[in-house]
Amino acid sequence: MSRRLLTGNGAAAWGARLAEVDYVPAFPITPQTEIVETLARWCDAGEMAARLTMLESEHSMVTAAGAAAAAGARVFTATSSQGLQYAMEMIFTVAGWRVPFVMVNVSRALASPITLEPDHTDVLSARDAGFLQIHCATCQEVMDGVLIAYRVAEDARVRLPAIVNEDGFYLSFTREPVELPDPGAVRRFLPAFDPGSAAFRASHPASRAVAVLGGAPYSYFRYEAHLAARAALAVYDEAATAFAAAFGRSWPAVERYRSDDAEVVFFMIGAFATKAKDAVDRLREAGERVGLVRPRLLRPWPDAALREALAGKRAVAVIDQNLSMGMGGVLAAELASALHGHAGMPMIVPFVGALGGRDIAAEEFFEIARAARAAAAAGVAPGPRLLYTADELREVRKLQAIAHAERPGAGGTR
């Protein structure tokens, strides 16, 4: 075992290397490219036995990933943002093939306007596809998450592909200490993929993923995938328990940080959750009973574990780093679906923030906690509040003034 400084992208690559993947179909996109570059370097140097193929698009990349997994290979791939969107047809399709592989998504906000910095709207757009989703808050979790994802995805009770999500910049390019496990211990935790009789062999032609008409067969196949995803709840718990026993790091489906006696909890996914923890520590120093509840597993949705974590709280401040236009934040709605109709559940106080890499200041976390407490005291749930300051709007107004100004003489100067 060794502890070293790795970026989230480096940790993702190490996850694939330690999982001893056979095949890596790849296509570059910022801020993911470093992952496949690292893997390509290791493959070239003979440090990894995998075959890495550069495809001509993410659409083909995901198709290749699904096809190779159908042939019984252990497959790793990675993408981000617009690339995920470009692959979206195949994201839904390959999940229906019931083939396990792991894809790291490096969250980056979607166009328009185009940007490089992160929010979670990209990965949440894949939430209905049949991929499992594990959301990471640290570089260590990225590496460990890849290993756990293989074990859950390949389990005979599940057999679905999985996305491991890390935030662009805040994890992808950020180095943190990461503990690299011993390869032998990883092999014991994650034995070679055994597809059983399901593996496609060129010598035995077969048709997979056939077409159906009439709703009954369609409903059957889709609902079976849903049942497999629900079964992944227990399989994930088993895998996380085995992981903790083998490596001493515990990654339950729902993280609870100082939340047991809390009255108000922050609720969010991804790298900014560690900022929320920092805010929890500061608020505790000031005598406030505040905590954090973070679903690490987003698909399947760990609704029972969330109810258990949130029962008896006064308010849960949901911080959505995504936007479903015309509705609001996705997590707040998902959480409502888990809590509604159950007794003793807290008021949901929704916030939307950190879109396109916009930071959340410590003072904003303090204010979120105050607002959530006030809403619970008043007994009225407010609508979603955008984290946006007067200064930020002034800045945008300046840009607009420049963008809309007539500039005589601009153009044709060369």
Partner: protein, 302 residues
């Protein structure tokens, strides 16, 4: 926790500087977080990187708003608002500028309340100013030993070969030694307390008309207005005696369309927009294009 920011231009080793300092802290037993921040631009564009180091695991993330120290590898960035060099500077923040002028001159010019130090050119390592800033920061925090800094530079640069490593080591250690009188000047900052915090000035966004609220720029040829030539650290200069007027190689391959060709097939470089990527230098068949450091040109002109 220590919170340290590095500023410079793409190509000056700013990301590597942050990693060298991060690794030095890590080797001293600190928990560390380091990261570069840049946009889609190339060589020469302003970039920054930051390092957090603490004895306990680090939960804070993102750009450092209240730095304990800011180190600037390229003094031309100080007055550029978009570079954000002076952002969050407080009385306790130590500013270090790689510059032949004195720290006192900079302090007066910028009307700063806190300490300002200059890294003189021989200490700043010339083109290795980023690495010199890493060495300076390592000494200023006062908790990193010389041999740890050396080991960190070896770890980050070693893969680039012995010659590059030696130059970087020399730059880092020269700055480390030069700042010996100021060891420990940079102190760990405190986190923002939750008691008595200043609430954010949140607002509701107004709903603007679609035309106004769409991300559009209502003007032609906007890239002409952005003088990207200011990003250049190296200037391509055509030796017209050698140029054989091929008329297309450099002009076609310049990624910024900064080379126009006259009717008589003579190439002309538009220095307002040339970013100094040196693609033209690499592709010119008769090797008619040379690279001249902008800094040396500016000094010669003075």
């Amino acid at each position: 926790m220590y919170r340290i920011r590095f500023h410079g231009r793409g190509g000056q080793g700013i990301k590597t500087a942050a990693q060298a300092l991060g690794t030095a802290f890590f080797l001293e037993g600190f928990e560390v977080q380091d990261a570069p921040r840049y946009g889609a631009e190339r060589r020469g564009a302003p970039i920054f990187a930051y390092v957090r180091a603490a004895r306990a695991p680090i939960q804070e993330r993102g750009v450092i708003a209240r730095p304990d120290a800011v180190l600037v590898a390229d003094e031309t960035l100080v007055p550029v608002p978009a570079a954000g060099v002076l952002q969050g500077l407080a009385e306790r923040t130590v500013l270090v500028v790689a510059s032949s002028e004195t720290g006192e001159t900079w302090r007066e010019r910028l009307a700063l309340p806190g300490p300002v130090l200059a890294l003189a050119p021989d200490e700043a390592g010339g083109p290795l100013a980023g690495m010199a800033c890493a060495g300076a920061a390592a000494r200023l925090v006062g908790v990193i030993g010389r041999e740890r800094l050396e080991a960190a530079v070896r770890e980050e640069i070693g893969k680039l070969g012995a010659a590059v490593l030696e130059r970087n080591l020399a730059a880092a250690l020269a700055a480390y030694d030069a700042l010996a009188p100021h060891a420990g000047l940079v102190a760990e900052g405190a986190p923002v307390a939750a008691a008595g915090y200043r609430p954010p000035e949140w607002i509701e966004l107004p709903r603007d008309t679609a035309h106004f609220a769409a991300p559009d720029i209502d003007a032609p040829a906007t890239s002409v207005a952005a003088k990207t030539g200011a990003w250049r650290t190296l200037r391509p200069v055509i030796d017209y005696a050698r140029c054989n007027r091929c008329s297309w190689v450099c002009g076609t391959l310049c990624p910024d369309s900064a080379i126009a060709v006259d009717a008589d097939r003579t190439p002309r470089i538009d220095y307002d927009h040339c970013k100094g990527c040196m693609v033209c230098l690499a592709v010119c068949p008769p090797h008619a294009i040379a690279a001249e450091p902008e800094r040396a040109r500016a000094e010669a002109a003075e």
